[in-house]
C-alpha cells in the first residue's frame, strides 16, 4: 500500500481489503517501527491503529502528546457550530435530519441569524462553523453565501459544513469570507455507505469523495475530513481517512488539513449493526493520526463526554466546540426545531475555557484574521 492513492482507487473495495489486511497483520515489531520512525506513512498508521498497538497505548499517547505540544504548544482553539437549516432531502439512516423523520424543519432568516450571532459573540466566540442539511431549495448556495458574509463581518473565521458543492460554488463562498470546510465521507466502506445512504444526492459515494478536493481547488484554506465512527471498522476507516488526507495534501499543498472524529452512539439502522468504539479506541485513533500528521487540526466535538474530551486535550486534540446546539435557532431563539444529534458535553463555553486554563492550556478564541481575506 503506497502513501499516495489516486482518488479513483480510494473507494475501491480492494483498497479497503488491503488496508484491513495490513492492520490485522501488524505485529508488535511493526508498532515499534512505527513509533520509532521519524517520518511516518500510512503504513505506519496501519500498525498504530492495529490491535497489536493496544498493549502499547501508553507509548502512543506519550509520543502523540510530545508531538502535539511541540507543534501546537499548550493551546486549544474553540469554535461553535451554528445550524442554519435542518431541511434535508437525504435519507441517511443514522441522521436526525433525514427526510423521513417527522421533526419541525426550520431555516433561519437573516434576522434570526443575527440574533444567534449576537449570542455567540457574547460568549466570546470568534470561530464559527455554519451547518445545513442538504436541501438546495431551503438553503441555496446564495443563502449560504449571504450567511457566510453576515458572519464574516462579525467573526474572525467562518467555516461551513454543508452539502457538497461544485468548485465554482465553493469559490463563491470563499469570496464571501469562508475559510474552512468540514466534509465527512461518513464511511469509506462502499457497501456500508450504500446501505446507510439509500436515497438523495448523498447516495453518490464517488461524488462525495471528490468534494474536499473541489473545495481545496476553490481556495478554501482549511479542509477537515472524517468518518462517522461506528458504521464500519474504525481501524480501517482511520487508514482510509489518512490516505484521503494524504491525497488532498499532495494535490493542494496550500490547504490546511484537519480530521474530525464523530462517534456514532446509536444504531445506524438500514440493517447495518453499530460497531461501537470505546473511548480507548477513539483515543488510539486520535494518537495514530497525530503521529502521522503532526500539523493537522484534530477536532473533538461535544458528542463526546466532558471527561474524555478533557483527557484528549494535549494528547492530540487541538480544536473543540463548546456550548453546542445542533438545531437551527438553538442558541437564542428557543427553537423547538429538530436536532441533528444529542450533545453529551453540555458545559458552557466559559466552563470549557476554565477547564483548559486549569490544565495549563490557553483557550484560543481567535486564530485567524479577517484581514487575510478582506
Amino acid at each position: 500500500m503506497k502513501d499516495l492513492v489516486p482518488l479513483a482507487a480510494l473507494g475501491e473495495p480492494a483498497l479497503w481489503e488491503s488496508a484491513r489486511e495490513r492492520v490485522y497483520a501488524s505485529t508488535d515489531e511493526d508498532v515499534t517501527r512505527a513509533l520509532d520512525a521519524e517520518h511516518r506513512t500510512t503504513d505506519h498508521l496501519a500498525a498504530l491503529l492495529s490491535p497489536a498497538a493496544v498493549p502499547r497505548l501508553a507509548a502512543l499517547e506519550e509520543a502523540a502528546r510530545r508531538l502535539t505540544l511541540q507543534r501546537f504548544g499548550r493551546t486549544v482553539v474553540l469554535y461553535v457550530p451554528l445550524y442554519l437549516s435542518n431541511a434535508c432531502t437525504n435519507s441517511c439512516s443514522y441522521c436526525g435530519f433525514a427526510r423521513h423523520h417527522d421533526i419541525r424543519r426550520a431555516t433561519l432568516t437573516e434576522a434570526e441569524v443575527d440574533v444567534e450571532l449576537s449570542r455567540l459573540a457574547e460568549q466570546r466566540f470568534r470561530h464559527l462553523l455554519l451547518l445545513t442539511g442538504e436541501d438546495r431549495r431551503a438553503a441555496s448556495v446564495a443563502y449560504i453565501r449571504d450567511a457566510v458574509a453576515r458572519c464574516h463581518a462579525r467573526f474572525s473565521s467562518v467555516s461551513v459544513e454543508v452539502y457538497p458543492m461544485t468548485t465554482a460554488e465553493y469559490a463563491v463562498l470563499v469570496a464571501a469570507g469562508c475559510d474552512g470546510l468540514t466534509l465527512y465521507q461518513e464511511t469509506y466502506h462502499r457497501p456500508t455507505y450504500r446501505a446507510v445512504h439509500p436515497a438523495g444526492p448523498k447516495a453518490d459515494y464517488d461524488q462525495r469523495l471528490a468534494t474536499p478536493l473541489r473545495a481545496a481547488a476553490a481556495g478554501v484554506r482549511a479542509v477537515s475530513l472524517g468518518a462517522l465512527l461506528g458504521l464500519a471498522d474504525w481501524r480501517v476507516e482511520g487508514v482510509l481517512m489518512a490516505l484521503h488526507g494524504a491525497l488532498l495534501r499532495r494535490s493542494y499543498w496550500r490547504t490546511r488539513l484537519g480530521f474530525g472524529f464523530p462517534r456514532l452512539r446509536t444504531e445506524p439502522g438500514a440493517g447495518i449493526a453499530l460497531l461501537p468504539l470505546t473511548e480507548r479506541d477513539l483515543g488510539q485513533l486520535i494518537c495514530g493520526l497525530r503521529l502521522c500528521f503532526p500539523d493537522a487540526d484534530l477536532v473533538l466535538s461535544t458528542r463526546e463526554r466532558a471527561g474524555f474530551r478533557d483527557r484528549m486535550v494535549g494528547i492530540g486534540v487541538t480544536r473543540m466546540s463548546a456550548g453546542s446546539r445542533t438545531s437551527p435557532g438553538g442558541y437564542a431563539l428557543g427553537s423547538d426545531a429538530g436536532e441533528q444529534f444529542a450533545v453529551t458535553d453540555t458545559r458552557t463555553p466559559a466552563e470549557i475555557a476554565t477547564m483548559l486554563e486549569t490544565h495549563g492550556y490557553e483557550p484560543v478564541w481567535k486564530d485567524f484574521d479577517q484581514g487575510f481575506l478582506a
Binding site: L69, Q70, R71, F72, G73, R74, T75, R124, R126, S156, R221, A222, R249, W253, R254, T255, R256, L257, P294, D295, E357, H359, G360, Y361, E362, V364, W365, K366, D367, F368, D369, G371, F372, A374
Partner: protein, 265 residues
C-alpha cells in the same frame, strides 16, 4: 574586551537593543508563564501573531501579558499565504500597535511553514515603500538575502530549521554566507531547539536569534528562557572574543612557530 561586550548593542533600523534574544508569544499555556518567561529571557523584542490577537478585546491574554513600555511588540504576518495578504495584515497590525515595524512572514504551506521567497520579496518591497521597517522571515538563501537587503529590509531572518522543529542550526553553512555578506543585522529565526543552538548561531556571527517553541514548550519555560539568555550572551561573547580556528590536525597548545622565528638560522 569586557567593555566592548558591555557597550555591544544590537542596532536595528537605528534603534539600539541590549538583548540579542528575540522571543515569541505563541504556544504558552498561561499568561503568567508568558510574562515570567519574557522577563527571564531579558528580551526587548517580542513577536505576536496578528491572527491570534483579539485586538477588539482589551482582555486579550497575549496583549495583556506583554508590557508595551518594556518590550517592542513586533507584530508578525503569520498565516499570510501571499504578498497581498501579508501587506494587508501588516497594515492592520500597524494601525493597532501604533508603529510600523513588522516581522514579515509569508508561509503558504501549512505543515512546515517554510517561507515563500518570491512573495516575501514582493511584500517587502511594497511595505518598505509604504514606510514600514521590515524584518523578513526567510529561508537561509544568501542570494535572497541580497535581494531583501536591497529592497530595504531592516534585518534578515533566516531559518535554522523549519519553524517549531527544534532541530537546531541545520542551515549553518548558508547562514555563514549570509552573515558574511550582510550589512543589516542577521537574526536567526526558527528551529533553534536548545540554548546550545542559539549559542552556536551567535558564535558564527549572527547578530541575534528569535526563539519561541523551545522556550514555550519546555517543561519549565521560565527557566528555559533564562538558559537561552545566558547562551545568547555566551555565544556573542565568544564571537567577539574571536574563536580559535578549527583544523583537522592537532595543534600544540604551546606553539613552536613563534619560537622558531626568533632562533637565528
Amino acid at each position: 574586551m569586557v567593555n566592548q561586550v558591555f557597550d555591544d548593542k544590537l542596532i536595528i533600523a537605528g534603534r539600539a537593543f541590549a538583548s540579542r534574544l528575540l522571543t515569541g508569544t505563541g504556544k504558552f499555556g498561561q499568561p503568567e508563564q508568558l510574562r515570567a518567561a519574557l522577563a527571564a529571557s531579558g528580551t526587548e523584542i517580542v513577536t505576536v501573531a496578528v491572527r491570534r490577537v483579539d485586538f477588539e478585546n482589551p482582555e486579550d491574554r497575549t496583549l495583556a501579558a506583554v508590557d508595551r513600555d518594556r518590550y517592542l511588540l513586533l507584530p508578525n504576518t503569520s498565516g499570510a499565504r501571499d504578498a497581498i495578504e501579508a501587506v494587508r495584515i501588516a497594515k492592520i497590525a500597524s494601525a493597532i500597535v501604533g508603529h510600523r515595524w513588522v516581522k514579515l512572514e509569508v508561509t503558504p504551506e501549512p505543515d512546515f511553514l517554510l517561507p515563500d521567497g518570491v512573495e516575501t520579496l514582493q511584500a517587502a518591497r511594497e511595505l518598505v515603500a509604504q514606510g514600514f521597517t521590515v524584518l523578513p522571515y526567510m529561508n537561509a538563501d544568501p542570494i535572497l538575502a541580497r535581494h531583501l537587503e536591497e529592497a530595504g529590509c531592516a534585518t534578515l531572518m533566516p531559518l535554522a530549521a523549519p519553524i517549531g522543529s527544534n532541530r537546531g542550526l541545520r542551515t549553518a553553512d548558508q547562514i555563514r554566507i549570509i552573515v558574511e555578506q550582510a550589512r543589516v543585522p542577521v537574526v536567526v529565526d526558527a528551529g533553534l531547539g536548545a540554548p546550545s543552538h542559539a549559542a552556536a548561531a551567535l558564535e558564527l556571527g549572527a547578530d541575534a536569534v528569535l526563539v519561541n517553541t523551545a522556550i514555550a514548550t519546555a517543561a519549565d519555560p521560565v527557566a528555559m528562557a533564562r538558559a537561552f539568555a545566558l547562551a545568547v550572551d555566551a555565544g556573542r561573547r565568544a564571537y567577539l572574543a574571536g574563536l580559535s580556528a578549527r583544523g583537522d590536525r592537532a595543534s600544540a597548545s604551546s606553539p613552536l612557530v613563534g619560537q622558531l622565528g626568533k632562533v637565528a638560522p
